[in-house]
Amino acid sequence: MLDINNLQASVEGKSILKGLDLHVKAGEVHAIMGPNGSGKSTLAQVLAGRDAFEVTGGSVTWDEHDLLAMPIEERARAGLFLAFQYPVEIPGVSNAYFLKAAVNAVRKHRGLPEFDAMDFLTRVKAEMKAVGMKEEFLYRAVNEGFSGGEKKRNEVLQMALLEPRLAILDETDSGLDIDALKVVADGVNRLRSPERALIVITHYQRLLDYIVPDQVHVLSHGRIVRSGGRELALELEEKGYGWIGDSGEVHSAPEPAGGAQ
């Protein structure tokens, strides 16, 4: 479903993604782990279409489409969803309006009838209950004054409402208590289906106790330096990221058999 080949991207002339390969099939959940600054958010934002990052090489194919050529909103309407590491506050726009505008933009594209106010409220209230958000959050400005956890729940809510075919969660678990973490995991697990794919970017293996990934990748200095099954996550938890060299080369890379220095 998603094929990333030799992706290179830079910001303000600084190269961040340096030839990244990743292949995700429909029905799969991939976890991407890696130290701070390794390029995880850059990858997520490039896939979502942020033009502050310049793609300097490589390709991304999504269901036969050249993803990088699609405008941001077309990606979203075609079913790509990014849960932001830092959701944006938008004073003056109610969460209800925002959610409805988003859902209807996507539904329209898919040839589904747009929700009217009543249908939408019924739908959104049910989903809010599932992510443990009080109804008052509908009438507050988007993310304004929300706590870290509330912002992340709001991201999961959007994901549930938009029913993406490819969801990317950028450290949605960071800074959450265990209840909120379960909400995120539950949101992902409810979305899992043979037609959908998910990329879960996480700093900790903790989330992977609740979301069982098909593959785990380690991103370092703008490249995937290791891929493996879920046991790789446990290994990372144990050993930390210290075994990855400063310039991104893998010193005695722990082969599946182990053997870290």
Partner: protein
């Protein structure tokens, strides 16, 4: 032409038929006012209060009547909707009794056209009319030529539950209209007054408007002005309040129309513990220009003033704000705050914001701040990743910027009218209609 001689001739041609022409005191004010205007001419950049907004072009400006009769009844119906309230309609600078619906008033409230008030109780009008010396030369022109306006007087303790709406619709036959509204709110009275300025068509016209408000001790007066003049109108206006002890005055100025609009808005605290809220919102595009020039005179102690002005500036437009705050020597424990925030929607638009603080007391709290910014790229991206196209996202963020100003309007129906007026200006407002 709109040069001094033309206006002098206009005065000589019309002064005899203006309402109250037979009243010596009024004839005297008008005569002195037109001569003051003739002496001073239109303000130019050399004038300290007009250095961002020159009216020098007025000497060469031709104004012409719109020619087409407005559908005043339809405009009124659109505006009014289900809203009760007291409605006074003026077409082309004259009261239109047939379109108006003043409705029942409590005892102690007088509400009529200025022309009628001059006929029925001229002494009260004289006390409130002001003089030829008020304001700058455009205000003097207004004093000389004002043909009508509203008269509202509330006796002590009288509350008007529903807002007073003054609807000024540009007429077909006049190249200029000059309106003067006089509001006297005696001690402990309360009212909300809304002024709507509507115009349409391509003709260049001139509107001058002066509203004088006397807000006596502990009275509460909310004034809202919605300026939606036609594209080629020059709108020169002044709102002038004087507050007694503990009086609360709020001015909301929403300036969406006209080619050039100048709003001089001021109040003087004549007693202790006054409160003033000045709230403004303007939207400009093309080569349009709007200037808010405010003055808050903390003449007495323990007064509080809050000023918030927000601009949405598109095209080659220019938004100007000057906030003058004077704190007199004895006005201790005054608290004055002012902000001006502008959102530039194009690279060529320009915003100026300038505080002018004159503080002679030592125990005061005074602050001011101004920002000029563009649509936030992070917010734009966030909305687009949720499927909103760029145009929709930009409009939403533009609206969101303005909404802070709208939220300061307490009365929900007025907030709704203000919102609708803004939506009508913003391209693609219909996309955002559900926000209403």
């Amino acid at each position: 032409m709109s040069d001094v001689d033309t206006w002098l001739a206009h005065y000589h041609a019309h002064s005899a038929v203006l309402p109250g022409a037979e009243l010596p005191w009024l004839a005297d004010i008008r005569r002195q006012a037109i001569y003051r205007f003739a002496d001073e001419g239109w303000p130019t950049r050399r004038h300290p209060r007009w250095n961002h907004t020159s009216l020098a072009f007025m000497d060469q400006q031709d104004f012409a009547p719109a020619g087409v009769a407005p559908d005043a009844a339809a405009a009124l119906a659109r505006l009014r909707g289900e809203d009760a309230g007291h409605w006074l309609v003026f077409v082309g600078g004259r009261f239109d009794a047939a379109l108006s619906d003043i409705g029942p008033l409590p005892a102690g409230a007088q509400l009529s056209s200025l022309a009628e008030a001059l006929a029925t109780h001229p002494e009260a009008v004289e006390a409130a009319f002001g003089s030829h010396e008020d304001g700058d030369s455009p205000a003097a022109l207004n004093a000389a030529l004002a043909s009508d306006g509203a008269w509202l007087r509330l006796a002590r303790g009288v509350t008007l539950e529903a807002p007073v709406h003054l609807v000024f619709i540009a007429g077909a036959d006049e190249a200029s209209r000059h309106l003067r509204n006089l509001i006297v709110a005696e001690a402990n009275s309360e009212a909300t007054v809304v002024e709507h300025y509507l115009g349409s068509g391509e003709a260049s016209t001139l509107t001058t408007a002066v509203t004088r408000l006397q807000v006596d001790a502990d009275a509460r007066l909310t004034h809202l002005k919605l300026q939606q003049e036609a594209e080629q109108t020059v709108h020169l206006a002044r709102i002038d309040a004087v507050q007694g002890r503990g009086a609360r005055f709020a001015s909301h100025s929403l300036s969406f129309g006209a080619r050039l609009a100048r709003h001089d808005i001021g109040t003087r605290f004549d007693g202790e513990g006054c409160e003033a809220l000045f709230n403004g919102l303007y939207h400009l595009d093309g080569r349009r220009h709007v200037d808010h020039h405010t003055r808050i005179d903390h003449a007495q102690p323990r007064g509080t003033s809050r000023e918030f002005y927000r601009g949405l500036l598109d095209g080659l437009s220019r938004g100007v704000f000057t906030g003058r705050v004077i704190v007199a020597k004895d006005a201790q424990r005054s608290d004055a705050m002012q902000r001006c925030d502008n959102l530039l929607l194009s690279r060529q638009a320009e915003a100026d914001a300038r505080p002018e603080l004159e503080i002679y007391a030592d125990d005061v709290k005074c602050s001011h701040g101004a920002t000029v910014g563009q649509i936030d790229e992070d917010s734009l991206f966030y909305l687009q990743t949720r499927g909103l196209d760029e145009t929709h996202a930009r409009r939403l963020l533009t609206y969101a910027f303005a909404t802070e100003a709208l939220d300061r309007i307490d009365l929900a129906p007025l907030r709704k009218q203000a919102r609708a007026a803004l939506m009508a200006r913003l391209p693609g407002g219909e996309l955002l209609e559900e926000l209403l």
